[in-house]
Symmetry: C2
């Protein structure tokens, strides 16, 4: 039996070699793989649930939290959902091979900029077995090889899911080396994986902030980060108050546990006394806890006082912080200071004010008169997503198939030389 270091090295080398063949993979083959995988998951449901049960039982014995167990747990319905999501991926356009730009130079050289897979992508995630199938299928559809490294608590679940992935690849005539699985070596293995910059092109960590920070700290390979979403709504003085009430409530309560839910509400002083008491009523009716600045507390006396740390917080819960500001500039400055470059919205009827906000707020998605909850691959029409990037390099916001590709230049000549 080989040691963990050799194991990591071998998986990565195989993926690297395999990646050169993946660039020419036809859309048909990729879709066959998705089709087969969808079937194989259903056929292996019993086995998947049995393996998953091993993980769940172990974690229950070790006293893991209910929320943790829920993310780890699979049942027939969840397997069906994983399988169904793959059908959706089939309908999405294959981004590889698209000509982005084509120019003919005065010397006759034809320069084409063509979309190609990134190559080998490592996904480092926590103990959510659904990520195994979702991440791998997105990578294969975009022509990449993937190296999976899930949390050690889900190792049995992942083992059987990777078996399903490899079966589907083989059935579709794709090398099973396209999916690698790191099952040994714990954190040491992750650290070693992150040093293999000649074999792996990109790392995408999926999970909490501490996981992402640890990956960034240790990686020599480029990392695309999906940090938390401290999202803001700014209610301007010139605003349709009813619209503002409806949109703000939606952004907070429709699904508060998501990264695109609003966490901080900024309100222009001139509208605060009209808007905030009404907003507070709606929040109370929906069990939303309010944490306000000094001025907010005067208008909403039953609110809790917010302190400096509140402005940095992603509550992911029925809690909102509220601050009164004196101008759109103050709102922009607040967002650029405390925000996480995710999603922010201005509610205003003044298009000039909106333009300023959209221009100067340094976030992936900036909205005018809409809920921040729309930041999502599906809602953007991208069909799927591997996450919401809070980075500014390569990919911003919802990261889907196209963002899992890069480009190369193909240059056609007839003997041109440089003089």
């Amino acid at each position: 039996m080989i040691g963990w270091k050799q194991h990591v090295q071998l998986v990565s080398e195989k993926a690297r070699l395999c990646s050169y063949d993946m660039t020419a993979l036809s859309t048909d083959k990729k879709n066959c793989f998705l089709e087969y995988l969808s079937e194989i998951l259903i056929q292996n449901e019993d086995k998947i649930l049995k393996y998953n049960q091993k993980d769940v039982t172990k974690c229950q014995k070790l006293g893991y939290s209910k929320a943790f167990i829920d993310r780890l747990f699979l049942n027939a319905e969840r397997v069906k959902k994983m399988s169904g999501a793959l059908k959706n991926l089939i309908s999405l356009e294959n981004p590889v091979g698209k000509v982005i730009q084509k120019t003919t130079r005065p010397n006759g050289l034809i320069i084409t900029k063509v979309r190609v897979p990134i190559g080998v992508i490592a996904i480092i995630y926590e103990s959510r077995p659904d990520v195994t199938i979702e991440a791998a299928s997105l990578c294969i559809k975009s022509g990449n090889c993937v190296i999976l490294r899930g949390g050690s608590e889900s190792v049995n679940s992942n083992e059987i899911l990777v078996e399903c992935l490899k079966k589907a690849l083989e059935k579709a005539g794709i090398s099973s080396d396209a999916v690698g699985f790191i099952s040994k070596g714990g954190r040491k293995a992750v650290k070693y994986l992150l040093s293999l910059d000649s074999l792996i092109d990109l790392v995408i960590p999926r999970g909490g902030e501490s996981l992402i920070r640890a990956v960034v700290e240790n990686s020599k390979i480029p990392v695309i980060k999906h940090y938390k979403g401290v999202c803001h709504i700014y209610v301007d003085k010139e605003v349709d108050v009813n619209m503002a009430l409806v949109v703000t409530l939606n952004a907070k309560v429709q699904r508060p546990g998501t990264c695109n839910a609003v966490e901080t509400l900024l309100v222009h002083r001139d509208i605060a006394s009209v808007f905030l008491p009404e907003m507070a009523k709606l929040f109370r009716q929906n069990n939303v806890e309010i944490r306000g600045c000094h001025e907010t507390l005067r208008l909403i006396p039953d609110a809790k006082p917010a302190d400096e740390s509140d402005w940095y917080q992603e509550y992911l819960d029925l809690i909102i912080s509220i601050r009164i500001v004196s101008s759109v500039d103050e709102a922009i400055a607040h967002i650029n200071k405390y925000g996480t470059k995710h999603s922010d919205s201005i509610l205003t009827s003044n298009t000039k004010t909106a333009e300023k906000f959209l221009n100067k707020v340094d976030s992936a998605c900036v909205y005018h008169n809409a809920s921040t909850r729309f930041t999502d691959g599906g809602e953007f029409g991208l069909g799927a997503e591997i996450g919401i990037s809070t980075d500014k390099i390569h990919a911003r916001g919802p990261m889907a198939l196209e963002e899992l590709t890069t480009y190369k230049y193909l240059i056609y000549g007839n003997g041109q030389i440089r003089t």
Copy 2:
């Protein structure tokens, strides 16, 4: 006087704040800046040469190499050249504000994907004062703030050049915080700078491999690498031999010190006995040293034997390594193993063979029947370049104004909420 840590922190914070105003900068203002800078450099020629002389004298006393001093040295002609290059930048299109994509969703949301500056870019480079002006002007034209950290040997030259940059910014009505200059703290300052991931969006190291590796090792901020170019030409069995002779000679000797010059020649066995003796004659006439594999030595008896390390080498000199291969697949495998993802070319009259090569060689620029020497921002029609990226994330190949930008989503609604 403040310490080095405070100095780095302050420069970076000022650049961060300034970056929010840079997104809306008009093309006119940016071009005015370039125009003024071009003039100010000429006006300050005496002062620039005086400051540069201080650096040069010091380095000569310390016994630096002639090549090092040559890169550091400025004279009237070189200042004129720096000034002239700025005029060229004026004519280039401002990439910021371009709508990349626009979709209207079924719920009426209008989603636009718009090109924006990256934000704050740190340039870490060696003692070449021309980089100071070139890098800063490319960053400003693309709407970015820049933090410059050149080699300590050029600190006096950079001080006066940064003074010129700041004067030109102010004259154009742009905050002088848009150009930051790290003048204290040596390597500790660089290490600290590379930890400021909330203030700096991207690091571009410019210089030798060891500088780039040190930056990657220490950076929490994304880095785009411009590693060396081990470029290949593969001469296929079906080829116009005369064309192959001319193109290969050009790629080696026209300017051997550049990263896009060919370093390794791969030749199909079936054409080797026809092609290689002729090629060797031309190489001899041009003083090119040949290092060949066993089989090559049989055809070119006066060549030196190549060892394994030769295949990894960027000679940057009149030296070429030659290997005979049995197929295009073997050529592709060699390039993907020993190459640096820079520029590689196939010379063949068979379009199927060419297609395979273009598809499977994992490099930024892959050529069919042309010299590798064309990998260059100017030759590609991009007008300028900050380097040739050997990375696959964000930017590949010649990196010009567009590659110094990113995008954001601006979403326009009329009260949409998610249900």
